[in-house]
């Protein structure tokens, strides 16, 4: 296994990262035929392979060039590399084994695929070629370790290795915000995801989808013209410039089976994951998934009042009804008394009996309460003034600003 320090190896190992090739840019210099250079400059431009024959002024040619340097590599991209072991000597080498491992800060992965078996012999001027791929899943320092062992003609066993270090950087910054629905009927949650491009170049966003957890169904709200249209709100040219951000919006609705059980979504729930696929130069692809997004459901205390049915708008001085659902969110039974308070400042007045006994309500169960209101002032009015008293604990729950309703006068056009 040992080789002298001064000794030259028979085999040479070369490694090159294979990012996608680039199309050559051309800066044509041309002139009128009657100018001094005549056709000479134009002929040279026309002959240049990097310029298009028909549109010589077009700046992006069809000539592919190989990657010029290592470039940057980002989390979620695929690291591809060409590994070539070439026999530089004039003698045949035997039992060649090429191994490529990737050392990250936490683990060591074996990347060699095709040539995990030893190659029995390698003639002079011949090479063993392999391309390795690895989808980068960790940030920070990575070291590609390439090891070559072989036997010379004289039976000597030789071994050497090379190390290639590179840094994996973060491509995107993802921030999320949750908005609880102000719609009193459902438990909808809106998720705003802010995606910032922190790479030095523009990226094309292929897809950003929300993969919801078992509790929710998700609807994307990122296209113009309604939910079924696929025309994105970001315009026709779909890319994010360096350091630019984009907001994506999703609507999450709790699944119906959770409704039917009248269960309350309490505490921390998982919402789902964002799955992001982007592309850069010539379709170089990257893919990331966020960790499970968690949401703490708003706390409802002991009692939750939700509005089950309410009209959008009502005529002034015509009574309307509202159905409220009262849910016992605590662990004990309640015995409730309903009081409806009218305040003079508000443009709505309660109708019906105040001080009514609602009876016993076991934990987790709910009851629907039809209530009647007379609107007395036009405009947007807020429903407030429900007081529930638990006679077991002698505790009163004040439920205000339950919903809003628009009151109008039909006689005024």
């Amino acid at each position: 296994m040992e080789s002298g320090k001064e000794r030259e190896h028979f085999l040479a190992l070369k490694v090159m990262r294979l990012t996608k090739p680039t199309m050559m840019v051309s800066h044509p210099v041309t002139c009128d035929q009657r100018d001094l250079p005549g056709n000479t400059l134009n002929d040279i431009t026309a002959k240049d392979l990097a310029t298009d024959k028909e549109t010589p002024y077009f700046g992006l040619g069809e000539l592919l060039t190989l990657p010029q340097n290592f470039g940057n590599i980002f989390l979620g991209e695929t690291f591809s590399s060409y590994i070539s072991v070439h026999n530089d000597s004039n003698q045949v080498c035997k039992e060649i084994l090429v191994k490529a491992d990737l050392q990250t800060s936490s683990q060591r992965l074996s990347l060699s695929s095709a040539h995990s078996e030893a190659v029995s012999e390698l003639q002079p001027e011949c090479s063993i070629d392999d391309i390795i791929h690895h989808e980068v899943k960790e940030l920070g320092t990575h070291i590609l370790v390439c090891a070559v062992s072989y036997t010379t003609q004289s039976g000597e066993k030789l071994y050497f290795r090379k190390f290639f270090k590179f840094q994996v950087l973060k491509p995107l910054d993802v921030k999320t915000k949750f908005y609880n629905s102000e719609d009193y009927v459902s438990d909808e949650v809106f998720l705003e995801a802010q995606i910032q491009n922190i790479t030095p170049g523009p990226i094309y966003v292929e897809s950003i989808t929300l993969d919801p957890s078992v509790y929710y169904t998700a609807v994307e709200l990122n296209s113009c013209g309604g939910k079924n249209s696929n025309e994105p709100v970001f315009g026709s040219v779909n890319y994010i410039n360096p350091l630019d951000s984009r907001q994506y919006l999703y609507c999450l609705t709790p699944k119906t089976e959770m409704y039917s059980e009248n269960k309350v979504i309490k505490g921390v729930t998982t919402i789902g994951k964002l799955d992001i696929v982007w592309r850069t130069n010539l379709g170089e692809v990257g893919r990331l998934q966020t960790s499970q997004l968690q949401r703490v459901a708003p706390g409802y205390g002991d009692i939750r009042l939700s509005v089950q049915a309410i009209p959008d708008a009502v005529e002034i001085e015509k009574p309307f009804s509202v159905t409220c659902r009262i849910t016992n969110c605590c662990e004990r039974e309640m015995d409730l008394l309903l009081v409806l308070q009218n305040t003079s400042k508000v443009g709505l007045l309660w109708c019906g009996i105040s001080g009514k006994q609602l009876g016993k309500l076991p934990p987790g169960s709910s009851l629907d309460l039809p209530l009647t209101i007379i609107p007395i002032s036009p405009g947007l009015q807020t429903i407030s003034g429900v007081r529930l008293t638990d006679s077991f604990l002698k505790r009163t729950y004040e439920l205000d600003e339950i919903a809003q309703i628009f009151v109008y006068n039909p006689e005024i056009e």
Partner: protein, 741 residues
């Protein structure tokens, strides 16, 4: 692949095993409103983005101990690696990085760079001694210039054209004032006292904004000219009077002009006594007399002919800025020999670099293969061709761009615009401007951008009055328009983007575009190009419209390319799409190009849509069209990482047309991505040796050299073989950076 080690990134992470196709996880903030802590670390990480190069840690001949250390040190691999000797990934990466700023393909040769530095130094230093010389000369002459004046006129007594003599006869009286060396105090008192003058001073005090008006005033009142003009110079030192186009691009362009003018304002007009600032035909240098002054013009198209040729008219047409227009009107309406613009209103170019350009290919051959090989190299030099236009064309044709630049330098020196002439009044003719254009265009080709910019400074915005034929009513009788070739204007506009000032390039290009559009609308409304009320024949109008439409198209391409260069895809795509309408005959090529841009962005669906349009427009019997379709399929396959399919598509193109070097090169590139290095090399070598004169292109050479470096340790020898090929087939304009030696 297994998932592990994610705990360092985020504790809230779920095992991803249920989703085997997804590997990377990105921590995101978990709860309402607040930005997660990872977001903050990202800002520090993003600063690494430019430094994310692959460091290689290379143990050249590791002995057992080292191997053991590394083997056991795996858990702390990072630390160990820091101790290790760090090298680059491999030579090809190393060399790639050397030139990473411009990329090896666009990289200037070291020679060109050093030259540019030199030239800058000179431009910085040169004016100083000139100034002092001029000052002494100026004051001396100004005392007895009335005596020296007649003798000047005698110089031109032999000329049939009397105007030259007249010009000089009348010039000296003004020269003392023009020189601006009358002490400030005396000038000011004069201004305060003078009754008629105070009106003008009022205008002068409003300075920049009104200077066109001042100019008009000067031009209109002939008697006042001599007294007023020096005041303009004195009152607004460094503020250029002439030739500021009234457009949005003014801000950028005036800035450069001011720097020019600070050197020119102090150049006294008295230098005329020694400099022969003839706006007339100069005594031609010897070699010029052997050939017609403008051999590039058609034989019938004599530039000194009195009549206005139709072709000339449409080619030369240009709309001057308002300030320049006023000067031109003044010049034409004033009696011969009575109107004199100041030095900074004139174009005073001069060489800023005059050393021989050499031959980088020969230098490289000499360095690697020695004297004998180097002496075998046969290329044209400035000495091996006749020193005239034809010689220039020969050099360019042979791709000896450097020698051609040398020759332009020599010709311009003979013409009185050599080293040190910048800022001094000299003679501009259509022919001298063509020489300048050729010189600048070749420098652009060789990517000597800063030198181009500094030599262009003397030309301002290519709008000074003396660049118009109208300025010389006696010489080019009745001829109108600008002597500046249109392509010269485009180069002038394009230069700043290569020096990092894209906005300036866009401003200049849009100004050119505005003038071009105006010319087209003039033609449309039955006027002449410059808006004058002249009846044109239908054929003449049609020909002119075609010419200017093609120029507009060229400008739109330049604008789009500039935008593409800064990756402003939205604007670039919009500009290219506007060409789908304007440049209809190239629609298929344009659609293909639009598709390619989308591929470069990574937008595969859009690219595919454009390529589909191409397929719909191409008939199946047209082999060229089919080649295009197949090329596009190849690119598409590449974007989808299907390199076998890509290679197959490019192969089919080369089957249709075996001389299609593009397809063959692209085929070789695909070969590498499928793990066939040797095959890729064989394809490219075969391509190069079959037809070296056309396929020795920098991109192809760059690819082959990259492959050589990956192949074995003997890359240098193989590159030398390529160098030999280059030396045999290419001129001294070849970009040796692509050889990566």
């Amino acid at each position: 692949m297994e998932e592990a080690g994610e705990e360092s990134a985020s504790a809230a992470m779920e095992p991803v095993s249920d989703n085997p196709d997804i590997h990377a996880e990105l921590p995101a903030s978990t709860e309402t409103v607040e930005v997660n802590p990872m977001a903050r670390t990202s800002s520090t990480e993003s600063s690494h983005t430019t430094t994310g190069n692959l460091d290689s840690v290379d143990l050249l001949s590791p002995d057992v101990e080292e191997v053991d250390i590394l083997g056991s040190g795996v858990e702390e691999g990072d630390n160990n690696s820091m101790k290790m000797k760090e090298e680059m990934l491999s030579e090809q990466v190393d060399q790639g990085l050397d030139t990473a700023n411009d990329g090896p393909l666009s990289g200037k040769s070291a020679l060109a760079q050093s030259m540019e530095e030199l030239s800058l130094d000179q431009s910085a230093v040169e004016p100083e001694p000139e100034l002092t010389e001029d000052q002494t000369a100026g004051t001396e002459i100004s005392e007895n210039d009335k005596d020296s004046a007649p003798s000047l006129a005698q110089y031109f007594a032999h000329s049939q054209d009397n105007s030259g003599a007249e010009f000089f006869d009348s010039l000296p009286p003004t020269s003392a004032d023009d020189s601006g060396f009358i002490p400030d105090t005396s000038e000011k008192t004069q201004v305060e006292n003078g009754g008629e003058d105070t009106v003008n001073t009022g205008k002068l005090e409003s300075r920049v904004g009104k200077r066109e008006q001042v100019l008009t005033e000067i031009g209109a009142s002939k008697e006042a000219t001599h007294e007023e003009k020096p005041k303009v110079d004195q009152e607004i030192p460094g503020v250029p009077l002439p030739a500021v186009p009234q457009s949005t691009s003014v801000a950028a362009t005036t800035a450069t002009e001011i720097t020019v003018d600070t050197t020119t304002t102090t150049t006294p007009t008295t230098t005329t006594t020694t400099q022969f600032p003839l706006p007339t035909t100069p005594p031609l240098p010897q070699f010029e007399q052997t050939t017609p002054p403008l051999p590039m013009a058609a034989p019938t198209d004599d530039m000194f002919s009195v009549g206005m040729d139709n072709v000339d008219r449409s080619y030369d047409a240009w709309i001057p800025s308002e300030a320049t227009r006023q000067v031109l009107i003044a010049k034409v309406t004033s009696a011969p020999g009575t109107f004199f613009p100041s030095a900074e209103q004139l174009t005073c170019p001069g060489l800023l670099y005059d050393d021989l350009q050499g031959d980088p290919v020969r230098d490289l051959v000499y360095r690697y293969m020695g004297d004998v090989e180097a002496s075998k190299r046969q290329t044209l030099t400035a000495d091996s061709v006749p020193p005239n236009d034809e010689g220039l064309r020969q050099l360019i044709k042979a791709e000896c761009h450097r020698a051609a630049i040398d020759l332009t330098g020599r010709i311009l020196r003979e013409h009185g615009q050599g080293m040190g002439s910048a800022g001094q009044i000299s003679n501009n003719t259509p022919w001298s401007l063509q020489i300048w254009f050729t010189r600048i265009a070749l420098m652009m080709k060789l990517k000597m951008y800063s030198l181009v910019e500094s030599e262009l400074q003397a030309f301002g915005t290519l709008d000074k009055p003396d660049l118009y034929y109208n300025y010389y009513p006696d010489v080019y009788k009745g001829r109108k328009g600008s002597m500046v070739p249109f392509a010269f204007r485009i180069i002038h506009a394009e230069v700043p983007q290569f020096l990092g000032r894209t906005q300036e390039t866009l401003d200049r290009l849009y100004y050119l575009h505005a003038v071009t559009t105006k010319i087209l609308s003039n033609l449309e409304s039955g006027l002449e190009e410059d808006g004058s009320m002249v009846e044109l024949t239908n054929e003449s109008r049609q020909a002119s419209r075609e010419l200017w439409e093609s120029r507009e198209i060229q400008l739109l391409y330049a604008i789009a390319n500039c935008l593409l260069g800064i990756k402003d895809y939205i604007a670039a795509l919009e500009a290219y799409r506007s060409l789908l309408v304007k440049d209809k005959k190239n629609k298929v090529a344009l659609l293909t190009g639009l598709g390619r841009i989308h591929l470069q962005m990574g937008d595969i669906p859009q690219a595919s849509a454009y390529f589909k349009q191409v397929e719909d427009q191409v008939s199946s019997s047209d082999p060229q069209g089919q080649s295009r379709v197949l090329m596009n399929r190849g690119f598409m396959a590449l974007a989808e990482s299907n390199f076998e399919l890509g290679q197959d598509c490019f192969k089919q193109v080369s089957d249709i047309d075996p001389t299609n070097a593009l397809a063959i090169n692209n085929m070789a590139v695909c070969s590498l991505y499928t793990g066939k290095l040797k095959a890729a090399i064989a394809i490219l070598e075969n391509l190069l040796h079959k037809d070296p004169s056309t396929t020795l292109q920098e991109g192809v050479l760059f690819n082959l050299c990259t492959l050589y470096e990956l192949e074995s340790s003997q890359a240098l020898q193989k590159k030398q073989a390529l160098l030999e090929l280059v030396s045999k087939h290419k001129g001294n304009g070849f970009n040796i950076a692509s050889l990566k030696m």
